[in-house]
Each structure stands twice: as C-alpha cells, then as structure tokens.
C-alpha cells in the first residue's frame, strides 16, 4: 500500500467512523477520490437512515398478525390519517403511490420503496405529498393514466389476475368520469354484451385509456381503424355506438 493511499484510508476512516477495511473498499470504488467517496458514503448512509424511518412509519399501521403487512384496518387508519375516506377515489391514487398490491393492503417492501420514491420519511411529509398529488391528479394526464392502469390489478381479488366486468364498470365510473366522453355508452354496451357475465380483459382495460383519448379528437369514431390493434371488444363497441347511438348505417 502506498503511503498516500494509507493516509487517505486513515482520513476516510476517521471522517466516516468506519473500519479501515470498509474505508479502503469505498476509496477503491471511487479511485481514491476521497471527496467523492465521502459524498457517496454520506448519501448511502442518509438513505439507510431514511429507510429506517420509513420502516418506523410502516410499523405504525402494520398488522398484528403479519409484521410485513398493513391489513384492511391498518389501511383504513392510514387513509383516515391522510384525510381520505375509504370510499373516496383518492384511495386509488394513494394505493398507486404506495404500491399497494390489493385494495386495502400494503406490503412493507413496496411501501418503503414507494415512500422513498416520494422522498418522504414521516407522516406529515407523506400527508403533504399526498395532498399535492391529489391536486396534480385532477389535471395531469400522465398521472391519471398511471393510476388508471394501476387500478386494474389493484381491484382484482387477491391471487386473481382478472377483474369481473361488473366491478370494472364501477371502477371505470370513478376513474373515467369526466375523462371519457362516451363512458355512459361504453357502460351500456358492456351491460348489454355477454362480457357482463365474464371478466373484462386487462388488455381491453388498458387500451380503453388510449381509446378515450382517441374519442376526444374523433367523437363520432368516423375514422376508427377496424384493421388496427384495438381490442375486439372496443371494435364491437364502435360498431354498436355508431349503429345504435349515432344511428349511422353500416357501410
């Protein structure tokens, strides 16, 4: 070991209060640039510190049976603390932000990841961020889409991958209320289609977002591409819509 590296190691060790072995590996990683090494070390340390705090936050709501889970009651408490009622659509947004796997449930790892992404470590920060996001959610299309897409698996029963069309309709009415112009027609269509007794495919759910965007520029679907990649259920809807709602005879 060269004298200067030895000095550097000693210095790093002193600064960060780490054993010399750890100090050496940090320094090596940053090519003995002690300033850079210290910076990254501090960042990691603070991250670890933050995560520790998030875990503590999680623990405030965790289930008694399973330490890695916030159960239904815990969720109710969490929502309440954040000023949101269980029936409010905002719960969907919060579930998305905190990566809830199923409605009314949070997992430790995902919760921590979610909070880190939002850069919050305590309840009051979380509440602030959630309030901000709720405001943003009212107008931001990207966020709206993300929440929309996230809601499908969220609303599925635990262990299931598909969503019954009936439940899906309720969810659509919450999520797309003022966004999808043809929502009422779409719902009527679903209710009259045999699909009502089955599940609504996730692909159709996802594509419906783009379809709703499409209908903004073409409310009568006059240039709808039947040869395109739209799911067949949407194809069928367009036929239904043009024929029964707009009364345009088929070509």
């Amino acid at each position: 070991m060269k004298p200067d590296t030895r000095t550097l190691t000693r210095e790093f060790s002193k600064l960060t209060n780490t054993p010399s072995k750890t100090a050496l590996s940090w320094l090596k990683q940053y090519d003995f640039d002690i300033d850079l090494a210290c910076l990254h070390w501090a960042e990691k340390e603070s991250k670890a510190e933050a995560e520790k705090r998030i875990h503590q936050l999680f623990d405030q709501f965790r289930s008694f049976e399973d330490a890695n889970i916030i159960d239904f009651d815990g969720s109710a408490k969490l929502f309440e603390t954040l000023g949101v009622s269980f029936e409010d659509p905002e719960t969907l947004l919060i579930s998305y932000l905190l990566e809830s796997p199923n409605m009314g449930e949070f997992e430790r790892e995902k919760f921590v990841h979610g909070c880190s992404t939002l850069c919050v470590t305590n309840l009051s920060d979380l509440k602030n961020v959630v309030d901000q996001k709720i405001t943003l959610w009212k107008s931001d299309r990207t966020l709206q889409k993300a929440v929309y897409i996230y809601s499908y698996p969220l609303a599925c029963d635990k262990g299931k991958k598909t969503l019954g069309t009936g439940v899906a309709i309720e969810l659509l009415q919450v999520l797309l209320k003022s966004l999808f112009l043809l929502l009422d027609h779409w719902v009527n269509f679903l209710q009259s289609s045999p699909i009502i007794d089955r599940s609504l495919p996730r692909d159709t759910w996802n594509e419906l977002w783009d379809f709703s965007v499409y209908t903004e520029s073409s409310p009568d679907c006059s240039d709808y591409d039947f040869e395109g990649a739209w799911p067949t259920l949407i194809d069928e809807f367009v036929v239904y819509y043009r024929k029964h709602v707009l009364n345009i005879p088929e070509q």
Partner: protein
C-alpha cells in the same frame, strides 16, 4: 525549314463599288432569270451570266444581288404562280365532313371531287417542280454569290432561300394553298377508303413537298403542321363512324375481320404514299376507334359475343378475338374481366343448381346426395377442362387470362361451403373398388383433375378432415381400389400442399400395414398355441392421433358378448406382450364381420358390421320366438344409441329382414320389440348387409359439429402460429403480425383477421405477448 526568299507583299488592288455598274450587270441577270422562268433558256450563256454575278459579288454587291434575286422570285410566285394554283381550287372541296357514315355522295359527285382535287394537286406539284428546276439553274448561275456572300454573311444559299420563298409566297400565303392542298389530300384518302382508286404518286409528291419544307417555327416540317393533325382527326372521325356502323351490321367475328383488313390497309397506305413516320400515330388512331372503344361492346355482344363463343367452344372465334384484342393495351384486361364474369356466372349456376336438388323429398336421399357431390365436382371439372383448353388452344396459354381463370374458379368454389366435403367425396367415389364401367386410366385422369379442385380450396383443413374420414372408411372396410392408387393420390396432395398436410394420411397407411404384419404374427402364434381359433379375428390397430376417431366414452362402450370376449382378451394379451405401456381401445362401430347364420330353410353367410354381430349374438342364446325390446338391447350391449338404432334399422327395416320388428315401421323407436326372423329366405348364399361405414354427405347437424371441431383446431393453429412468429421476431406491429399469420396459415385455411385479433388478445391474456409500453400497436414476445 528553309528560309523562303524575300517576297514583297503588295497591297491588293482596290476596287470601289462605284467602279462597277450594278444596274447593267443586274439587268443581264434579271433578264436571264425571267428567261428561266419562261423556260426559254436556250439563248443564255452560262459563262456570261456567271461572270456577271461574279463581278457583282467581287465588287461587294453581293448583298444587293441576293436581295434583288429574292425580290424577283417573290414577285413572280406571288403574282403569277400562287393565284393560278389557287384559282384551280374548286368550291366542291370547300367543306368536308369526314365521317364514314355521312350522307354518301353520289358517284358522279365523288368523281367530280376527285377530279377537282387531282387538278389542284397537279397544278401545285407542277408549279413546285418547275420552281425546283428554275432554282437549280439560278443557283448554278449564282454559285459565286453563295460561295462568297451567303456563306460569310450567314444567310441561306440562294437555292434554299428560293424554296422558302415558295413556302411563304405560295403555300402559306393568304391564299392558303398549303391548307387547301391538305384538304385535297384528305379528300383523296377519304375516297380511297370508301373504295375509289386514286392517284397515289400525286399525293405522295405533294406530301414529299410538304415534308421537305420546314415550318415557320419549331423543328417540324410543313407535313407535320399542315397534314398530320388534320389527317389523324379525319381518320378518327372516319373510323368512329365506321366502328358504329360495322358493330351494328356485322357479328363479332366479321367485325374483327373487317378491322383486321382496315389495319392492313392503313399499314400499306402509310408505307406506300403517306410517310412511315405517320404510321404509328395512324395505326393507334385506327386501333383506338375500331378496337379499344368497342372492346366491351364487342365482348358483351349477344349471340356472337364472347360468352356465346365460350358456350359454343368456338376456338377459332376466340382465337381471333384474342389475337385482335391483344393488339391494344386494354384488350387482355377486358378479356380477363369478361372471362371472370363468365366463370362466376357459370359457377353460380353450378352451385345454384345443386341447392335446388337439396330440396328433394328426404326419402332415399343418401344415395342421391353422394351423387350430388359427384355431379357438382364433375360439373366444375368439366367447366375447368373446357375453359383451360380454350385458354391453351385459342389464347396461347396467356398467363394473365390463366390467372384470372384460376382466381375466378377459386372464388366460386370457395363460395360453395360444401366444396371441401364434396371434393373428398368425389375422390372417395373414384378410389372405391368395384366400380364398373370405368377404366383405370379414366379414374387416373379424374383423380388428377380432382387435385386441381383441391388446389383451389382455401379451406384445406376442412378437406383434410373429410378426407381422413373417408379414407378411414375405405381402408377399414377394405374398399380401396388399391394401395397404389391411394398412395398416388396422397402423393399428389403432398405435391400440392406439402409434407405436413399428408403426414397423418400416410400415418393411417402405416397403421394398416403394421396391423397386417401384426396380425400375421398373431395368427402364427395362435396356431402354434392351441390349434384353431374359435373365429378369425382381424384387428386394425390405429393410432388415435392419425385417425378420425371419436374417442367419446359412449362410442367405445360396448359389452362384447361372451362368445367374442376370449378372442379379444387373447389378442390384447398378445399385443401388450409386444408393446408395453400402450392402451388398446376397442372401437366397434367401424368393424365388420362375416357370420354364417342358420335359418329355417338354409344357411346364409352374412356380411355385417361388428355392432350388428353383437346384436345378433343377443338372439343366439334366446329360445325360439322370444323377442327383445330396444331397451333390452341397449342395456345388454351398452352400444351408443345412435349406432344401435342405425344397425337395428339395417337388420330389421332394410331389404333383408334378418330381424323382425314390432311394430313395423321405418324408424327405430323406444319400446320397439325385435325377434329373430327364422323364416328368412333369399336366393343368394352370401348377403351383404351394409349399414354404417357408408360414405355419405353429412347432414346439417353433423356438419355443424365438424365445423365446430375445425374452428377449435383453427384456434390452436392460429395460436401456435402467432407464438411462432413472435418468438422469431420478438416485436412486431399489429398489421404485420396479422399479415404474416394470414400468410402462414393460408396453406391450410383462410383465417379471418378478427379471429387472429381475438387469438392475439387471448395470448396477451395468457401472457405470451404484451403490448409495447409506448405503442399499443406493437406487440412484444414474452419468453
């Protein structure tokens, strides 16, 4: 180089222009020119005149001389020549209507017109020729002028200049002699077209004149400007009229003959006295008016048109239609169009005529229906043979017409939903043995033709399904003509549709061969073991994946009578000792048996189905006249009700009544009772009681089930195909994927894009695929 001796260069002697008397010299020349014009040149001295001109040019009077000569020429042509020519233009020629169907002039009028035109043209041509002679002389005299003056000051030689003056002062003057000459030529051509003979050399000379003179602008001659456009327009009007008239008067063949003559005539005309450069444009006009404009009318003409010729197999006529129409660009496409229309009409007729048959009363419908299939196929093939022959023999096997033939056939064949079934039935009919009155070659040829039909089928998978069923019946009932014939048929199908298509069919043959070998071995063993077997057991061991066998529990549930059981078990033991880990399922509804039955009067050998044997054996143990009810039989044998009914029907309700049924009726109903008919008599010792295993047209219910199975199998094929494509390409845009899958599947069937889309969605659901995050139209393969 040697140094030249010193030479003093002197300045040239100077002449001043006024040293020479221009007027005097010019007068001499002027008079000479006049003499030339008057053709009184005998007194002239060429040498003297040349010297005069020479002197004038030498004394820098070139320009003046040139100008004066031109002036003299112009004056003469304008004042003397032009008016005299123009004066000979008769008023008869003034207005002309060039249509072929104008009111015909009477003979004398056209003769007068001809004479007038010839007179005018002769005058013009003579004047031109004289002018040329004069100009030759003048230009010889003024050679020095050309040599020195014309060249250096960049004007035309006097000869050319003289021709230009003729052009401007005669042809293009206000007297419009050029235009008039055009009218005269057109008059003559017109007269020739309607049958007169005319003075061709005169016309040719006149055109030659026009062609030798450049027009005022552009790079064209007077011929191009004064003659060509009017000539083509006149030709157009003429043939437009003629086409209409000929179309009404003549039938199609005559019309085409006339047209051909006209084309030859115009070709010759262009060669002989017009100029070849107009030939192409001229022929295009004639072809357009006589052919292109009339194609559809001609082809559609009733009685003598295209359809009629096809109907009457008029090869000569069709050949001349083809030859004539292929001259013009739109000809072949029109033939294609009409050909397609003809085929689809005939096809609709064939398909329609069978739809009518279907409404025949139900009785005895089975036989009628197989013959329906055959007659459909035969009709289609007859039509194909006929039309193909027509294309080969009268249309030089034109590739485009041939394609349209194939496409149209494929369209109407596939419009007929029973086509795959009927095709297979037809082949079945021809591959069955004991067909009387048909030579091997004719069967061979028919089979060859049926491959043509197969080629057109877009739903090859449906065909395969039926073919398997029919083949199975042929093989199991031993009704094929020969293995060779079967294999050669399969070979043909393989050639058309590839290895994969015939794999299962070949598998069926292998099974039959292996079964024979196995049976041989089995019988050898049996003989050694315990002497004669109670009866001869023939077993075909078939792989369920190759054979079209319904392995539904009802179909295979059959309680074999005690008499049969030992043999069955014996064979099973033998089989399992050879092949471990296999499963044998006995399938009674496809086998047959020969049984000897003792009736009161005599013994008869009956050939019946396996199920019928099982039924008959129920009566063997039965005392005398006791009867069994349908329910008894059902319960004792556990045979599937449909099979049981069908077999009872053939035993009790058909020609040979081995069983008696109470009450008597055609159908088997619950509660019916059966008893053995001891009093049965027949003249024949051997009787065939055919029931099942008869190849026949499916009824609607069966057909629906078949189609459901096929749909199911198509879904699997589409799934497999989509996954295969995506695995290979990883990411692919929706339409490209649909196109590729359609392409790959089309050798089996014509997949519908919506179906493919549904399969894609199903695969997304099952997480074989996903949509790309940034473009929903792009799919990604998930490994």
């Amino acid at each position: 180089m040697q140094r030249s001796s010193k030479v003093k260069i002197r300045a040239p002697r100077k002449f001043t222009s006024n040293q020479v008397d221009f007027i005097a010299h010019w007068d001499v020349l002027h008079n000479a020119v006049k003499d030339i014009f008057n053709k009184s040149t005998s007194q002239l001295s060429f040498e003297e005149l040349y010297r005069n001109a020479y002197t004038l040019v030498l004394h820098k009077h070139g320009e003046r001389l040139y100008r004066n000569v031109k002036e003299v020429l112009k004056t003469r042509l304008e004042n003397e020549v032009a008016p005299s020519i123009a004066g000979s233009f008769g008023s008869l020629l003034e207005t002309e209507n060039w249509s072929y169907v104008r009111n015909r002039d009477d003979f004398s009028l056209s003769m007068r017109k001809r004479e007038a035109a010839i007179l005018f043209l002769s005058n013009l041509v003579n004047a031109w020729k004289e002018h040329l002679v004069s100009m030759q002389m003048i230009s010889s005299v003024l050679k020095y002028l050309d040599k020195v003056y014309s060249k250096s000051s960049g004007v035309m030689p006097i000869y050319d200049s003289g021709l230009m003056i003729f052009r401007d002062s005669v042809l293009l003057s206000s007297l419009e002699i050029g235009q008039k000459s055009g009218i005269c030529i057109l008059t003559l051509v017109f007269l020739e077209r309607i049958g007169d003979s005319i003075n061709r050399p005169l016309v040719n000379s006149c055109l030659d004149m026009l062609n030798s003179l450049p027009s005022e602008s552009k790079n064209e001659s007077l011929y191009d400007v004064l003659f060509t456009p009017k000539f083509l327009e006149m030709t157009r009007m003429f043939y437009q009229g003629e086409a209409q008239q000929n179309f009404e008067i003549y039938d199609v063949l005559e019309y085409l003959q006339k047209t051909n003559l006209r084309l030859e005539e115009e070709k010759e005309r262009a060669q002989k006295y017009l100029f070849t450069k107009v030939s192409f444009a001229l022929l295009s006009v004639v072809e357009k008016e006589l052919l292109t404009e009339q194609i559809d009318n001609l082809l559609a003409k009733p009685i003598s048109g295209f359809f009629a010729m096809l109907d009457s197999y008029n090869l000569e006529g069709l050949s001349s239609i083809y030859n004539m129409l292929s001259i013009v660009e739109l000809g072949i496409p029109s033939i294609k169009k009409f050909f397609a229309a003809y085929i689809s009409e005939k096809g609709r007729f064939i398909n329609g005529s069978l739809a009518l048959n279907k409404e025949d009363p139900q009785g005895n419908s089975q036989v009628a229906k197989v013959s329906t299939a055959s007659s459909w196929v035969t009709k289609v093939l007859e039509l194909w043979d006929k039309l193909r022959e027509i294309v080969v023999r009268s249309m030089k096997e034109d590739r485009y017409v041939m394609n349209s033939l194939s496409d149209s056939f494929s369209n109407f064949i596939n419009a007929y939903s029973r086509a795959p079934e009927f095709t297979s039935l037809f082949i079945d009919d021809n591959l069955k043995r004991d067909l009387k009155g048909r030579s091997e070659e004719s069967v061979e040829k028919t089979l060859q033709n049926s491959v043509v039909l197969f080629r057109f089928l877009s739903e090859k998978d449906v065909f395969e399904k039926y073919y398997k069923t029919h083949l199975a019946k042929r093989l199991l009932n031993n009704r094929s003509i020969s293995d060779d014939a079967e294999l050669s048929m399969i070979g043909r199908l393989k050639q058309e549709a590839g290895n994969v298509f015939t794999q299962k069919l070949e598998g069926m043959f292998t099974d039959m061969r292996l079964s024979k070998e196995l049976l041989h071995e089995y019988k050898g063993n049996y003989d050694q073991e315990s002497g004669k077997p109670p009866f001869d057991l023939n077993v075909s061991v078939l792989a369920s994946s190759f054979w079209p066998i319904d392995l539904v529990p009802e179909k295979i549930s059959c309680d074999f009578p005690e008499y049969l059981k030992p043999s069955i078990d014996h064979f099973s033991n033998f089989y399992f000792s050879k092949h471990t880990g296999r499963k044998l399922i006995w399938y009674p509804s496809m086998g047959s048996a020969d049984v000897r039955v003792q009736f009161k009067k005599r013994k008869h050998d009956l050939n019946v189905s396996t199920i019928a044997v099982v039924i008959l054996l129920q009566f063997q143990a039965l005392p005398g006249s006791e009867s069994l009810s349908y329910e008894d039989l059902l319960q004792r044998t556990k045979i599937e009700p449909g099979d049981l009914k069908r077999n009872l029907q053939s035993l009790a309700c058909a020609k040979y009544k081995i069983l008696l049924k109470e009450p008597k009726s055609r159908d088997i109903n619950a509660g019916d009772r059966f008893m053995f008919n001891d009093n049965f008599t027949s003249n024949m010792a051997r009787l065939k009681i055919s029931t099942i295993a008869q190849v026949r047209v499916e009824d609607d219910g069966e057909r629906k089930r078949t189609m459901e199975k096929i749909d199911e199998s198509r879904k699997h094929q589409a799934d497999a195909c989509i996954v295969r494509v995506m695995k290979d390409r990883k990411t692919l845009e929706h339409n490209q994927l649909v196109a590729e899958v359609t392409r790959q599947l089309s050798s089996r069937f014509q997949p519908n894009p919506i179906m493919i889309k549904r399969r894609i969605e199903a695969l997304i659901e099952r997480e074989y695929l996903q949509r790309s995050a940034d473009n929903g139209r792009i799919y990604e393969y998930l490994a």
